[in-house]
């Protein structure tokens, strides 16, 4: 409870700071006033200048909503993935789900496919993510559990294939598509649009709700598949539903902003250290924590280098990489080997 309030407060603070900060100066009172006015509460703080209003509502707010939605979706996807793999190192980026989704999206970009309108990229990203998840799941499990080595080796294979596919598409692509694909691989929230952010937000909220509803079952799955089955859990259905959920969350998250790695690894792990492994609390906290992490990361990406913008995927990998090393090292020490 205290953790929840603290995370919520931090998220609100991060959102406000992110709305203020940037090349175009906006004050805190203007942000709050503008938000209040949009809720139908007239007040004196709201900015009169239409440029300020536009900077907030056309550029900053959709971007912040996108950051929250993507962060929550990735963190929840990571936590769900760890639950069904029975392994705290499973993460959409590490095991290649993200690169599967990226490949799907790149095919849509290069092929110029618009069969499903602006949803085409998102749908193909989802399809690519789903295929990659099914592949990893099918290959890397033995006796209802996944060993670290197998998981990581499978991830290497899937990532290599996804990377090769992307390289091939880069080779085929015209310079405009090429730029779009490179942007994809690095990840960026710049230029987020309301309608894109809304799609991701809907998926993130619905996906988190479904995951939380399955929380008790994920707990029991920690006993191993056989024991879960003996406790009346329909393991096959839970597993398949969870894989679709992971692919949907990851696909939606990467569809518009590209690959942002390690969020699904770092956030659930920290939350597990603070709250314990019980999934219902863990999933809710991961959603909020993921949103917080991405809002902060995006803020840094926008402001760290004056006049330029770092790709956000670069930042999360910069933090996530060493973190992953530490986790790996600890797990190795705990199990006395690479099993």
């Amino acid at each position: 409870m205290i953790v929840g309030i603290a995370l919520g407060a931090l998220l609100v603070a991060a959102v406000l700071v992110s709305a203020i900060a940037g090349q175009f100066g906006v004050s805190l009172t203007e942000v709050v006033g503008s938000l209040l006015r949009s809720l139908g509460i007239p007040n004196g703080w709201a900015p009169d200048d239409p440029t300020t209003e536009a900077a907030l509502w056309v550029i900053r707010f959709p971007r912040i909503v996108m950051a929250c939605a993507v962060g929550a979706a990735l963190a929840v996807a990571g936590a769900v993935m760890q639950a069904i793999f029975g392994n705290p190192l499973a993460e959409p980026g590490v095991v290649g789900v993200s690169s599967g989704a990226a490949l799907g999206a790149a095919i849509a970009i290069v092929g110029g496919m618009l069969a499903l309108g602006e949803w085409t990229i998102a749908v193909l990203a989802f399809a690519g993510g789903l295929l990659a998840t099914l592949l990893v799941y099918g290959v890397s499990r033995a006796n209802g559990r996944t060993e670290v080595v197998t998981l990581l080796l499978t991830g290497i294979a899937v990532n290599a294939f996804g990377g090769a596919g992307l390289a091939f598409l880069l080779f085929l692509a015209g310079s405009a598509s090429r730029e779009q694909i490179v942007f994809w691989q690095l990840g960026s929230l710049s230029g987020s649009l309301w309608r894109e952010a809304a799609i991701v937000a809907v998926v993130a909220v619905a996906g988190t709700a479904v995951a939380v509803a399955l929380g008790r079952r994920f707990d029991i799955l920690a006993l191993g598949e056989r024991n879960a089955r003996h406790l009346g859990i329909d393991v096959e259905r839970l597993r398949f539903g969870s894989i679709v959920l992971v692919a949907l969350l990851t696909g939606a998250a990467v569809a518009f902003v590209g690959i942002i790695a390690f969020v699904g690894l770092v956030v659930p792990h920290l939350m597990r250290m603070i709250l314990g492994p019980s999934h219902r609390a863990l999933l809710v906290a991961s959603a909020v924590g993921g949103a917080l992490l991405l809002v902060v990361a995006d803020l840094l990406a926008r402001t760290l280098v004056p006049g330029a913008e770092l790709p956000i995927g670069l930042l999360t990998s910069l933090i996530g990489g060493p973190f992953f090393f530490v986790l790996l090292w600890r797990q190795r020490r705990a199990s006395g080997g690479w099993a």
Binding site: G144, R145, L223, L231, G232, S278
Partner: protein, 255 residues
């Protein structure tokens, strides 16, 4: 009758019949021990009785109904299973692990007994003092007892135990079988896979001796655990001492 009935059950793994045409009835209020050499098919037979493994031929009835026709959640309120795989993926606390045993009773009137069932399970398995510890930090023997507590908390009329004594010291081995006897005393049915023949002889009402997948003998301990039968099945000469009509099986070490 019989609470659990196996009718000509055959189970094949990789083309080889691991359990062959086993007929078995376990009555309510009975403790049956499944014994036999490694690879005789004890665990496979137990998993067929639990409904986990579907027999290639024959069928298993639980309380008169084919086991595969019972809804998994309802089945989980009828029979509990202690498997040999007792790892837990994340550092849950012992109390949480034991509480998971109550999950089949969620949204049923049985949930009113949750608290009492968990407390009594922790006490019976002698793990009350571990309740706040993380499962992943426990020793092998402690994990085995916590897993047993989880199964006890499930509070089912049928309890299936697959080598529950494997990781335990002498006192806790005796404890587990004493608990099994208490369960039987409450009118429950217990089937337990054991390697220690003297332990089986001391606590079981009946013993089923498996040999290469087939049921070699079924009867009271003194009927089944005889020198010629055990020596033949285990291919090791043994001596059987009978005390208070309970057999003690000792290998002949100095021929």
């Amino acid at each position: 009758m019989g609470v659990i009935r196996a009718e000509a059950v055959t189970v094949s793994l990789g083309g080889r019949a691991v359990v062959r045409e086993v007929d078995l009835r376990v009555e309510s209020g009975e403790l049956l021990a499944l014994v036999g050499p490694n690879g005789a098919g004890k665990s496979t037979l137990l998993s067929a009785l639990s409904g986990e493994r579907v027999p290639d031929a024959g069928r298993v009835l639980v309380e008169g109904r084919p086991v595969d026709a019972i809804d998994p959640l309802e089945l989980a309120r009828i029979r509990s299973v202690l498997t040999q795989d007792n790892a837990v993926s994340f550092p849950f606390r012992v109390a949480e692990v034991v509480e998971m045993g109550r999950s089949p009773w969620a949204r049923t009137p049985g949930r009113d007994r949750d608290e009492q069932a968990i407390r009594s399970a922790l006490e019976r398995a002698d793990v009350v003092h571990l309740a706040d510890r993380r499962f992943t930090e426990l020793s092998g023997g402690e994990r085995a007892r916590v897993s047993l507590a989880r199964v006890l908390a499930q509070d089912t009329p049928i309890v299936l135990l697959d080598e529950p004594t494997a990781a335990l010291d002498l006192r806790h081995q005796e404890d587990v079988l004493r608990i099994a006897r208490e369960l039987v005393g409450e009118g429950r049915t217990v089937v337990v896979v054991l390697h220690d023949l003297s332990l089986a002889g001391a606590y079981a009402d009946r013993v089923a001796l498996l040999d290469d997948g087939a049921l070699r003998a079924l009867g009271t301990p003194v009927e089944v655990l005889t020198e010629p039968l055990v020596s033949a099945v285990y291919r090791l000469p043994v001596e059987v001492l009978v005390r208070d009509s309970r057999p003690l099986v000792i290998p002949r070490r100095h021929p």
